[in-house]
């Protein structure tokens, strides 16, 4: 089943090489070796290879097999910032895509009813089935379900949707998988509130879902196939957010280097302290500096404050201010900038961030 909006954008060999961090020759050799069906440019000129985004991830998967990457238990990550507008969803989408480009099997979970992560992969959660039919869209491009539908708490009788109907694969089987969101997801908070009143510990709902999906107890959801499970949490300090953090090994918090940004990290530290106190489990905090310009005194002051107070959390790679993000948003095809503009400055930074992140998490 095609579970994606139609992406017509294609990539030349050099762009694919940049994305994957390998040489153009290696791209050619490996794609031949893997027998990936790549189109050739039409017309009279040279028959240049034109990779679709699916091809790119097929190649990444092939390289993973070839390099003998062994499967371990997945890294579970929540991307969260108490403050909005700090590049949280942009970071989540790009980091998720960057991990998948490294050949990792990635599951992204959109926990924000505003569904920005879902939209970052080209879905419009407001498009109805009828509209999709009229426009001749792939039925898989319609967002009907969200993460709530996978939790037994969601429905009265405890029934859940099969993972296959909920999950989206915007770039095919080998690209990042996405559990999308839409406006109705917000009802989960009300349900969690009720569960709390009934003393049913809704804060454990996501941890339980993860554990059962990993251990094979939940036949509906096999999470053990993934290398990375990444939740994009809304800026609210709500129950779904706490639940995701409780289930996670790491919480990556993008910090915009502005005044009060240190405060949002302090709020997060407090929430993590509460998790430790109440449950004995908490994710390790990783601060990711955004809009980073060390030449500005105020930025330097924030960096000093954060690295002094939370030295272990600081990620050595940062993302500078860039217009490219905005440009990427106005592109015809919506996809994370790391894919749409692989040779741009931000894409390069994001790849470095994703690599540093992986290194830091694996070292922990």
């Amino acid at each position: 089943m095609a579970q994606r909006p139609v992406v017509e954008k294609t990539f030349k060999v050099q762009a694919v090489a940049t994305m994957l961090g390998i040489s153009a020759d290696t791209v050619r050799r490996d794609s031949d070796e893997a027998d990936i069906k790549v189109q050739r440019q039409g017309g009279d000129g040279p028959k240049t290879r034109l990779f679709t985004i699916e091809n790119v991830f097929e190649l990444a998967a092939h390289r993973r097999r070839k390099n003998g990457l062994t499967k371990r238990s997945p890294l579970i990550i929540t991307v969260y910032a108490a403050k909005g507008g700090v590049g949280k969803t942009t970071s989540a989408a790009n980091i998720g895509a960057a991990f998948a480009l490294r050949g990792l099997r990635v599951l992204l979970v959109d926990l924000d009813f505003q569904a920005n992560l879902t939209m970052a992969f080209g879905y419009d959660p407001e498009v109805t089935q009828e509209e999709a039919n009229e426009l001749g869209m792939d039925p898989g491009a319609v967002v009907k379900y969200h993460f709530g539908n996978l939790l037994p708490q969601w429905s009265k009788d405890g029934s859940v949707e099969p993972l296959a109907t909920v999950i989206k694969k915007p770039y095919g089987e080998h690209g990042p998988h996405l559990i999308p969101s839409e406006l109705g997801f917000d009802d989960l908070e009300a349900i969690f509130t009720l569960e709390r009143l009934m003393e049913r510990k809704p804060e454990l709902a996501i941890a339980t879902w993860l554990q059962k999906g990993l251990s094979g107890e939940n036949a509906n959801v096999d999470l053990s196939q993934y290398d990375v499970i990444l939740f994009d949490a809304p800026p609210a300090k709500n129950q779904a957010t706490r639940g995701a953090m409780l289930g996670s090994d790491f919480v990556v918090t993008p910090v915009s280097m502005e005044r009060f940004s240190t405060k949002s990290v302090s709020y997060l530290a407090k929430v993590l302290g509460e998790l430790q106190r109440d449950h004995g489990r908490f994710p390790r905090m990783i601060t990711l500096a955004n809009f980073y310009d060390m030449r500005r005194a105020r930025v330097a002051a924030q960096v000093v404050a954060l690295t002094t107070k939370y030295p272990d959390a600081w990620l050595e790679k940062q993302i500078a201010t860039s217009e490219e993000f905005r440009k990427a948003l106005s592109d015809d095809v919506i996809m994370p900038v790391i894919l749409s503009r692989p040779s741009s400055g931000p894409a390069e930074e994001l790849r470095a961030v994703a690599n540093a992140l992986l290194e830091k998490m694996e070292a922990a």
């Binding site: 579970i76 009907k144 379900y145 969200h146 709530g148 539908n149 969601w154 429905s155 009265k156 009788d157 029934s159 859940v160 949707e161 839409e182 406006l183 109705g184 997801f185 009802d187 009300a190 349900i191 009720l194 009143l197 009934m198 003393e199 049913r200 510990k201 454990l204 941890a207 339980t208 993860l210 554990q211 059962k212 990993l214 251990s215 409780l246 289930g247 240190t262 405060k263 990290v265 302090s266 709020y267 530290a269 407090k270 993590l272 302290g273 998790l275 430790q276 106190r277 109440d278 449950h279 004995g280 489990r281 908490f282 390790r284 905090m285 404050a305 107070k309 939370y310 272990d312 959390a313």
Partner: protein, 356 residues
Amino acid sequence: MANSSSSRSQADLTAELQARLRQSGNATAPAATPIAPAAPARPGNMHMNDAPRGPSRSLQDLVGAQPAAGEAGAASKIMQDVNVPVDLSEIDDSPYQPRTRYDETELLLLGEQLRMQGQDEPVRVRRLTNGRYQLISGHRRVRAARLIGWATIVARILTLEDREAEIATLTSNESHVGLSDFERGCAYQLALDKGFATTQKDVARLFACSQGRVSQCLSVARLPPPLVAMLADYPSLLTYRHAKIVREVLDHDPESLPAVMAAVETMIDEPDLEPEQLRVRCTTKKVGMRTRAKVAIKKTVPDRSGESVFTVRSNNRNLVVNFNDRLSPEQKAEAEKQILAALKGVVESLEVPDNA
């Protein structure tokens, strides 16, 4: 399909939730936890919470260890004891704490020590069902931390039942720093009354002191009720040696209780009275009309609710005293008067170079 998502309207959802709530018989709402007041922002030095450290449980431990539905409360049993910063506003005193008075000067010194050296040892607390924390040990440090304006204190959170908490609080070493014989005696008596110990020997073992000491302190706590009532207000009034004299006098002549009371009362103004002098006073008939020069200024601040009556903060040239809102206007006026008088005394004693 059983679980259509986008088609469920808010009204449908509410109706369904209400139905669920009716079905569950146990829809008891836990008491709301009051929101802690934010720590005041200090310019240039914003308060930053500590990130947790130490081990974190695995998902499997977290989920696997959960009790079955309906076993609410049992979860706390399996929780690890951890050190975490806790809001001072969420900490209550232990009702089992033997100390009734806190010396403000000592608290200020302790606060100064906390400020300079940081907190060496976590205080110990347990979580109550209402979400607040109850102190096991660290009553003085908590007060000192409030005095110096801290918002949080590092606490070790223990999972203790009422009885365990009571024993732990009673026998905590720190609970006994500077306690009077009477306060110790009351703690020992309580341990006996509650059945934590059955003999004085048991008490001695429980509190890690000698049996002789137990006997001495109990003798103070077991004085006749009118004297115990007086000691409740002035716990340091009588040592066990004074109590021995009082007992001897009363054994000799039980009718002399009013005279003994009057004699003991004179010690409020003369705390250093020797036991033998007390015997003389108890047996002298003319103690009736004593004159007390002035009301003794209490050095301690009574605060049964567990909060300091005022907090003091000094910052470069400014000294700010904040009174607790629960003080009546009269109490505030009196406290203000006394503080200003004390300040005047300090100012007069200072030698300031004349630069006029």
